[in-house]
């Protein structure tokens, strides 16, 4: 690990002042991804600002009837929070599908959004990687690419975004509040992460020096019909090969509103509004779900070892939609702590 200097910030002002002083800084909160990347010599900041003491630790209801999740609230505390459990169980379930209990106790909401890909070539400094060093080339495109993207790829990068939480946030249309020396702004979730294009070293639209302050959930939580399905190489504590977050609003047997977001398939949580619009107004039946799954994978392209993800994603989408339709809510709390669909 490189050597660095370290200061503690006690306020947002403190933090943003550090940005002025030195542009080679990183904010550290949970540190679960940053420290790992520093050990691998992928990240090497010269200065760390410890932001854990800033007052961004609250989960509170918003004037619009939604919920504001402080950027520094731990993932575990968010998932088990009373209002998240009752109003946004899709989010609780997605968070609890990720990482391990230890890591969820450390990792923060803001940090979860900013975690970097687990592409093994990105981590291995002995291999070329455009995300790590722009212009070096991509080792994954013609390499061992089992865990890589099938949608939204470019000739420069086929890495995936690794988060589970973010897949649910995409489906819920969360908004991200950020602050920088140019002031505050709110970023719709769909615009927060980006596709790799020819600049895969840039993961998100957060500008250098900007700090995430909160995740704003809208009032609609799809708490009656939802499902998060995560498929991975082992039953717990592994990144998704494919994951699906579904929220449905049903009236009788018909879909009023559908949300589908996919994880493990692209450089960002993947949504396709044409698919959701196709489902809106349709009977919530398997044939419509199967058509939706085909539509969602229409442009999917495998890179040899990840070809299986296309069929896997289609089946996971159908299963998540069926599960969401048939869900008996509220689920008891312990259902969130393992993959319920794998126990049946």
């Amino acid at each position: 690990m490189n050597r660095f200097t370290y200061t503690k910030a006690n306020s947002i002002d403190d933090t943003l002042r550090e940005v002025n002083a030195d542009h080679d800084i990183k904010f550290i909160a949970g540190g679960t991804n940053l420290i790992d990347l520093m050990r691998a010599n992928v990240e090497h900041p010269s200065h760390l600002v410890d932001i854990n003491h800033i007052d961004l630790h609250a989960i509170q209801e918003t004037a619009e009837g939604g919920l504001s999740l402080g950027a520094l609230v731990k993932n575990a505390d968010t998932a088990y929070h009373e209002h998240v459990q009752s109003r946004y169980p899709l989010l609780a379930k997605a968070i609890l599908a990720g990482a391990s209990p230890q890591l969820r106790n450390m990792a923060t909401n803001g940090g979860n959004l900013l975690q970097r890909t687990r592409c093994y070539y990105f981590y291995d400094t002995a291999t070329p990687c455009n995300k790590r060093v722009p212009g070096q080339g991509c080792s994954a495109i013609n390499g061992f690419n089992k865990i890589h993207s099938i949608l939204g790829t470019s000739a420069h990068c086929i890495a995936t975004h690794p988060s589970d939480m973010c897949v649910a946030l995409a489906a819920l249309e969360a908004r991200i509040k950020v602050i920088g020396n140019d002031g505050e702004r709110v970023i719709p979730f769909a615009e927060f992460h980006r596709l790799p294009g020819d600049t895969p070293h840039i993961d998100s639209t957060l500008k250098p020096g900007e700090l995430i302050t909160s995740i704003e959930l809208p009032s609609k939580g799809f708490e009656t019909h939802y499902q998060y399905i995560k498929l991975r190489d082992r039953r717990s504590y592994a990144f998704a090969l494919v994951s699906v977050a579904v929220g449905l609003e049903l009236q009788d047997d018909y879909i009023q509103e559908a949300r589908i977001a996919l994880g493990g398939v692209a450089h960002k949580p993947w949504r396709d509004e044409t698919v959701e619009n196709f489902l809106n107004g349709k009977k919530a039946a398997e044939d419509a779900f199967e058509t939706a799954a085909e539509m969602m994978m229409k442009d999917a392209k495998g890179f040899r070892y990840n070809n299986f993800k296309i069929e896997m994603a289609k089946r996971a989408i159908v299963r998540a939609l069926v599960d969401a339709r048939d869900l008996k809510t509220p689920e008891p709390l312990h259902c969130y702590t393992y993959n319920r669909h794998q126990q049946q």
Binding site: M1, R3, F4, T5, Y6, T7, A21, D22, I28, G30, G31, T32, I35, D36, M38, R39, S46, H47, L48, D50, N52, A76, Y80, A99, S100, P101, Q102, L103, N105, M106, R235, S236, Y237, L333, H334, T337, Y338, Q343
Partner: protein, 181 residues
């Protein structure tokens, strides 16, 4: 290049920011005792415990947050001590495996691990036991499936999993859980 780097260091000094030559003072509260250490900021909490305080019960397995051997309790909640810096824990109550027994009286989880033969080589065991205590403190384990899922952050290379689960189940069932540690 060297001049530029030196200048950056000099600028830092003017801003009263620590330079990389300086050690940072930190007071760690471990198993009820206070320790004052002077540490490089990149010292992991795990290394501070093992190398600076001699508390070698906490193990270094992968040093990447993937195996759970370094699990300790911060304010009763379990974390991976390898993936965090010691300077971030000023004054926060830390419990390691050394802090669970009361004198010669083993903690119920320690006793149950022995009774159920819940380890072979023992390297993952301090992390398993701290993690199990953390899980009990968190209060979300209601079934064997829950234990499987909520203990998944601790790998056991000897695969003593069945007996680990039995040991934890016994502690839950007999209600021997001591007050949150």
């Amino acid at each position: 290049m060297k001049d530029i780097m030196n200048k950056e260091v000099d600028d830092r000094k003017e801003d009263a920011i620590v330079t990389e030559k300086q050690l940072l003072p930190v007071q760690l509260n471990v198993n009820g005792k206070q320790y004052i250490l002077h540490l490089e900021p990149w010292t992991s909490l795990l290394d501070a415990l093992r190398e600076h305080l001699g508390l070698t019960g906490t193990k270094k397995g992968c040093d990447h947050g993937q195996c759970g051997a370094c699990t300790i309790l911060i304010d009763g909640k379990r974390i991976n001590s390898c993936l965090t810096f010691a300077v971030m824990y000023q004054g926060v109550p830390i419990t390691t495996i050394e802090g669970l027994a009361q004198g010669d009286k083993l903690h119920p989880l320690q006793q149950a691990f022995i009774k159920h033969d819940a380890f072979q080589c023992g390297y993952c065991t301090p992390g398993q036991i701290c993690s199990a205590q953390g899980m009990l403190n968190e209060g979300h384990a209601y079934s064997r499936d829950d234990i499987h899922e909520l203990m998944s952050g601790n790998l056991c290379r000897c695969a003593a999993y069945n007996n680990i689960v039995k040991a934890i189940e016994e502690v839950i069932e007999t209600g021997q859980t001591p007050d949150a540690v």
